[in-house]
Symmetry: C2
Subunit: 466 residues, 2 copies
């Protein structure tokens, strides 16, 4: 029944939400309940995550662990009896942290306090003896430019603008700070700084330094300076020390290094659509993670939730009308090569992608979804939020989706992202504190169920496009 | 301006929501933003909880720790510059766990596996040598009655009905199981059982046994039997063992004991209302906890959030029109004596309570509130949920409030309870896993801010009653 309706409505290129609501509400609500019940009683996400996190661990692009994760998830997808499981080759950057970093604050010669730091992803090493210099604390890239070369030259620049605690969406607070981490070294180097220390992107004050991607932009190799993140507690200590003594020196040592690109893979599995096999819906997360911790929230959670979407459809015996493809993207963290390659191949092969959903905001209790589409389409989708009300995941917002699916956008599809509760996310993100024990099984499963339900609705109510 | 409006509208005994919406929306939204901003930047809840949890710890009624908690919170309330801080005496039960419990499964004589158990609150001890008997596993009190005395007599009854994982509200799953814990021993004793083991009220399968209140009803002293909870993993093991070997024996030993009632206190602090000092709004949680863990979520969180309501009003310079009273109730867990005494005194003194709000569902990210009132009043209150939308705590439901404020209900006021996300709650509840490290500072503060905002709205829009 839904089939015929879909075909008829396709002519108008409108979602069939309103018209079909009366006919299908009961079916759909019952199907969504079955999806949630199945996820909460027979979901595989948590078991997969246990292996990925505890048996493999952090999976930085180009590492042995990333390779292990490719093989493990491919094998697990093959067990699901999908129509096709394959690897999509992609060249990825290989950055290696090397020996543990070491840093201290020196108020007067010989009086030192060790503080936790971590090299930023992509940073060069310090000299082998380390780097020691006076420190200039700033709150922004702008402030640095105002101070100018005379103040900055020969110093270590300490970026210390904290995440804004009054923002309820902690991703907005992250977005408001991350320029310090990403571009801090590039800008500081232009004013003659010799190194960069960035306050970790963390709303808590604790001892975990948080790494993350940085870029030297177009700086020549010989002008690049080493950059590291300091724990928030270390940042508070350094700032307090500087306020007492401007001559305070900071020492740090790291031997991180960039190697030539290496070959890796996106892992892909799909169930062929029964009616519109050429219309492809993607669900995914990124398989790589940083090397600190085990990457359980970022983005092990998104990987196993995406895998569980296909597993749950199999379990409840739902045969999708459109092709559903799980894509485990490689190298979101420091290059987005997997996402770019997937989009490039899709375009080159003339594939027709109609929807893509990413989970890359942690495995916490789901609150809803974000959609990257036009206002009119969003309003139609938003009508479905009622289906998610019983599962407390009915907050649908316009704007945002996921980094890995972003490159598909020019192909004219609807993009979406799962929105879990964000309060705890930056306690873990990119740090040694991103660990399996901090993922709650039920929260993870509720996210997988919400994703499966959204894909189910898209499968049934998207207008047919060819 | 709000003052005059409130007086005028009071005549109709209706909330002034609709009429005042146009006038006050901007003021109220701004005030609520100020409340949230202040909670997230200068809230005291997390610091108070750190002391309560890490310096005092589990605070079972009648214990030294409960006494310490009374003194600590009274002292902290006094520092806030309230109009009145006082202790309300109340006699409470004193049950003492004694030496750590010990239990094992014995499949054949001498072949034993130790399993984690904890005496239920109120349970008697086993004989000093412990208790060993064959086991009858049941899934419900009804099943026990169907089996009858011939099967039960001389055995240990093992109640093993798990919490229902498909219920999104985990408190509903708890409600569907807790009869086993509360009444299991009373019913089993009537059929001649010699002891009771109850599967812990926990949705996870782990090694933590969860205690909680139980009752022998009107069983004479000499017919009472010892009762303990077994960890969920222990329960799975015991059940699997029994399915292989019905002659499996279970051994447990505990020396918990009831003592005569002792004197304790509700801790009360208040800000006198500027316009209607005789109209009292209560905000509270319970100061006692179980003796396992440190009681951070149950209900340290509710205690410090309630204290922060008054602190936040002080901080932003808001002078309430009605009297706001924080009440830290003693003995919610095994007697509700504090809640009952508070209500008794309120009635005896002819006090006029118009609203009471409790936080006793954990310190997790707030989702909204539950209200115990009539449908019409609820609909008016629900219009305020828009104010909570930006803070993701706008889920208002009719039904439910809090145990400690329940006894006030006959006095005809509106009751409410904070509704945090419930997915993780029973990982911690009543177990050694209820610890400070599992409370997230921001989530705790968001709850305190939501509570403060609701009280602010009640203060301004409740109809005046005398």
């Amino acid at each position: 029944m839904r089939f015929y309706l879909a075909v008829i409505l396709a002519a108008s290129f409108q979602f069939s939400v309103a018209q079909t609501a009366e006919i299908n509400t009961k079916d759909d609500a019952a199907m969504i309940k079955e999806i949630f019940d199945t996820a909460l009683t027979g979901g595989k996400a948590h078991d997969w995550l246990r292996f990925l996190s505890l048996q493999i661990g952090g999976r930085l692009s180009g590492s042995v662990e990333a390779e292990q994760a490719v093989n493990y998830t491919k094998t697990e997808l093959e067990k699901l009896g999908l129509d096709r499981v394959y690897l999509q080759p992609v060249m990825v950057p290989k950055w290696v942290r090397g020996a543990p970093e070491f840093a201290y604050i020196e108020t007067t010669p010989g009086v030192t306090t060790t503080v936790p730091i971590t090299a930023l992803g992509g940073s060069i090493a310090t000299a082998s003896m380390g780097l020691k210099a006076e420190v200039v604390e700033v709150k922004s890239l702008d402030e640095l430019e105002q101070l100018g070369r005379s103040v900055i030259e020969g110093k270590i620049v300490f970026y210390n603008r904290p995440m804004e605690p009054t923002l309820i969406n902690t991703f907005a607070a992250y977005g408001g700070c991350v320029d310090q981490r990403y571009s801090g070294a590039e800008v500081a180097a232009k004013f003659g700084a010799v190194g960069v220390i960035v306050r970790s992107m963390n709303l808590r004050v604790d001892d975990f330094p948080h790494t993350g991607a940085m870029s030297y932009g177009d700086l020549p190799l010989d002008q690049r300076i080493p950059a590291a993140a300091i724990s928030t507690k270390g940042a508070e200590l350094l700032s307090a020390t500087l306020s007492l003594n401007k001559q305070t020196q900071f020492y740090f040592k790291q031997n991180s290094r960039n190697f030539p690109d290496v070959k890796s893979y996106n892992v892909i599995g799909e169930i062929k659509g029964s009616l519109y096999p050429n219309e492809i819906m993607v669900v995914g997360g990124h398989l790589d993670s940083w090397d600190l911790g085990d990457g359980s929230h970022d983005d092990g959670a998104g990987v196993v939730q995406s895998m569980d979407v296909l597993s749950l459809f199999k379990k409840i015996g739902y045969r999708p009308k459109r092709t559903i493809r799980v894509v485990l993207f490689m190298n979101e963290e420091n290059g987005l090569r997997g996402g770019n390659e997937y989009a490039r191949v899709a375009l080159a092969e003339g594939e027709n992608h109609v929807f893509a959903l990413e989970s890359d905001s942690g495995g916490f209790t789901p609150r809803g979804f974000m959609f990257d589409t036009d206002q009119e389409t969003f309003e139609q989708i938003k009508a479905w939020s009622n289906y998610f009300y019983p599962y407390l995941s009915d907050r649908f917002q316009l704007g945002g989706s996921g980094a890995d699916i972003g490159p598909l956008k020019p192909q004219g599809l609807i993009l979406a992202g799962l929105k879990p509760d964000s309060q705890r996310y930056f306690d873990h993100h990119h740090s040694d504190n991103d660990r399996f024990e901090h993922v709650n099984k039920r929260e993870l499963e509720l996210g997988a169920a919400a994703m499966t339900s959204l894909i189910y609705l898209m499968d049934n109510y998207l207008p047919q496009t060819n």
